[in-house]
């Protein structure tokens, strides 16, 4: 038995997700392969429509299917095959193995129940404890996410709290079943810059403390630079590049990654034009042939328009999919 290495916490191989529409098919994810090991933190970076959120929702089985069509050669969470799992197994895996926090905490909480009722409910769905025990645990959790007056927050309704406070409460709720991995989908996009920095630091601390895996879904390379070990860059439903975070910033291999990094504002001093990526993201209902980035890529030629390159090794623990790799 010991000859087999431990399976990855998250194992996604060749995942495709599409949504049939009345006038065609929206191909949101087109052959994504990625994995997360125990305790590892990865960032999935991409723009709107790149398929980053849909990939996460597919592995958590949060997409209603049908209409969503999900195909993969492997789609597992904590060793559970999420394609063949029944509803019971899916629900159990979501609490025990994985938890998710969303961009807009105001809509993620139910407005008619108090924060306390919602955290207590989550705990009691997954574990056989009394209401009183669950409530005292909820209070401890709120303390862990650095909420100073946990008792009064438990009795508050979502609309009474600020965005930052709600996101803390959301993280407390996500941690309530001690998940092995936390999916964070743009958790700080709706927050002020000072609150964002606090929430990111909190997530990092808790991740280290609990030995938890982390998938940080974001369009902001700054968030990635702050929080994760490894980066997966997505574009047009496909993975363009993946590499350890320092490598991505020091020696991006894919032209899209390079263009994204170059376009980050705030580099260097003084007023200046930014380096922009011309054109617009591909339409998922009608993606370009070949490499999805080729219409916007300065290096693209006929080969790029004809066929999608395979992922190739660009370093010891990094890959990229591009015909023009040096």
């Amino acid at each position: 038995m010991s000859a087999f290495p431990a399976p990855p916490l998250v194992d996604i191989r060749d995942l495709s997700v599409s949504f049939p529409q009345h006038d065609g098919v929206v191909q949101a994810v087109r052959g994504v392969t990625l994995h997360v090991d125990t305790g590892e933190s990865i960032g999935i970076v991409g723009e709107s429509g790149s398929g980053k959120s849909v990939s996460c929702m597919a592995v958590l089985r949060l997409l209603r299917s049908p209409p969503a069509r999900i195909e993969a050669t492997a789609l597992s969470l904590g060793g559970v095959d999420m394609i063949s799992a029944d509803n019971r197994q899916i629900a159990d895996t979501r609490g025990r193995v994985a938890a998710m926090i969303f961009q807009d905490p105001m809509t993620a909480f139910d407005p008619v129940f108090t924060i306390g009722q919602q955290i207590v409910e989550t705990i009691r769905v997954h574990r056989a404890v009394s209401k009183a025990e669950a409530r005292s645990e909820a209070q401890t959790l709120l303390t862990r996410v650095e909420i100073r007056n946990p008792a009064s927050i438990l009795d508050s309704f979502p609309h009474q709290l600020s965005g930052g406070m709600l996101q803390r409460a959301m993280i407390a709720m996500a941690l309530s079943c001690r998940p092995q991995i936390l999916f964070a989908d743009e958790p700080t996009t709706a927050l002020d810059v000072t609150v964002q920095a606090q929430i990111l630091q909190l997530i990092k601390q808790l991740q280290a403390e609990f030995g938890m895996g982390l998938i940080m879904v974001t369009h902001d390379l700054g968030v990635v630079a702050e929080t994760v070990d490894r980066v997966v860059v997505m574009y047009g439903g496909k993975v363009m590049e993946q590499a350890p975070v320092q490598d991505i910033f020091d020696s991006p291999a894919h032209p899209y990654t390079r263009a994204l990094l170059a376009s980050m504002p705030g580099q260097g001093g003084g007023r200046q034009r930014l380096i922009e990526i011309p054109g617009a993201s591909p339409n998922p209902a009608n993606p370009p042939t070949g490499c999805p980035f080729h219409p916007r890529c300065t290096l693209a030629d006929a080969q790029c328009a004809a066929a999608m390159p395979a992922m190739s090794q660009t370093g010891p623990s990094r890959q990229a999919a591009c015909w023009k790799l040096a």
Partner: protein
């Protein structure tokens, strides 16, 4: 040279509701307090601060879309604070606005040509045919093909819609543009396109822009001068690089410290200060610096050319 836009002692308060008469006396929420801000001609000024700091209210007052409680607004040296609608109309043409959410800012029933031509129509510039022609020219100028003139807002991406909003704002050739978080809802690659478009048009037209944002990285790349708002007041103002390199006010420092790093190598543990702590800091600063008794009102004090920050000094 006359400044394009000057705000002098601008205040906005809202009375706090007290239907039962329980409050001992009239109370009000002071959203903007005594704001002095000059947008020099042909320059881009950043107004930064977190949600609730009063930066949007300040912009809306400058446009006379929100009436100030006190203070004065000068456009090209002319006081428009109390102007009646008819007298104000020519000044409306000189000041335009671009909002954060381009979707709700464009009428879904209008074609893009109609949207961009509407300001010309409202201000009676040229014949209907000329108005449409100018509108199509502007669509082209902001990077959309003329054929887009017959399309509707829902057919466009967020970045394209923001281009239309910019065309509509500039079609009257205003002197001042108030841009309220115009890039916050956009993707990274599109954000750079819109920032560059604003830079180019500003230079070509000699436009003055008040750029309201909480994105400090964008502000650093785009603006000539920055004013930082906190609790309804401007707590620091300086040339952009001066603010980023030599921030003086504790709130400015905490804001700059929160900017995500540009490279993972620069990761660090941050020490965060609570709002109460920050608010308590100014009197403490002054007590240390001057030994004066506490409680005078803080004032903006100069710190080198063009740089001022709020502190308690006499």
């Amino acid at each position: 040279m006359t400044a394009a836009l000057e705000l002098r002692g601008l205040c906005k308060s809202y009375p706090l509701r007290d239907p039962n008469g329980w409050l001992p006396r009239y109370r009000e929420l002071r959203v903007v307090r005594d704001v002095d801000l000059t947008v020099e001609s042909n320059s881009i000024v950043g107004l930064v601060g977190e949600s609730g700091s009063g930066k949007t209210t300040t912009g809306m007052m400058a446009l006379r879309l929100t009436e100030p409680t006190a203070g004065r607004i000068l456009v090209g040296g002319q006081d428009i604070t109390r102007m009646e609608a008819a007298a104000l109309k020519p000044f409306r043409a000189k000041m335009q606005v671009v909002f954060q959410d381009s979707y709700s800012a464009l009428d879904p029933m209008f074609t893009l040509a109609q949207i961009v031509a509407e300001p010309l129509h409202v201000h009676g510039r040229g014949s209907a045919r000329e108005q449409t022609e100018t509108a199509l020219d502007w669509l082209e100028r902001v990077g959309l093909h003329r054929s887009y003139g017959s399309r509707y807002p829902h057919e466009l991406s967020g970045g394209q819609r923001q281009r239309v909003a910019i065309a509509r704002a500039l079609v009257l050739r205003p002197d001042v543009l108030i841009a309220d978080e115009p890039t916050s809802a956009l993707d990274v690659s599109v954000k750079a396109q819109i920032i560059n478009l604003l830079q180019d048009l500003q230079a070509e037209m000699g436009l003055s822009i008040l750029f309201i944002s909480h994105d400090l990285s964008v502000v650093r790349s785009l603006t000539d001068k920055v004013a930082v708002m906190f609790n309804g007041r401007i707590v620091e103002e300086a040339a952009t690089e001066d603010i980023f390199i030599r921030p003086q006010h504790p709130y400015t420092r905490s804001l700059l410290d929160a900017i995500p790093v540009l490279n993972p190598r620069d990761r660090r543990d941050r020490v965060f200060r609570s709002r109460e702590d920050l608010e308590a800091d100014i009197p403490r600063l002054s007590a240390v610096a001057t030994g004066l008794p506490p409680a005078p009102t803080p004032r903006l004090i100069p710190h080198g050319p063009g740089h001022r920050y709020e502190a308690l000094v006499q």
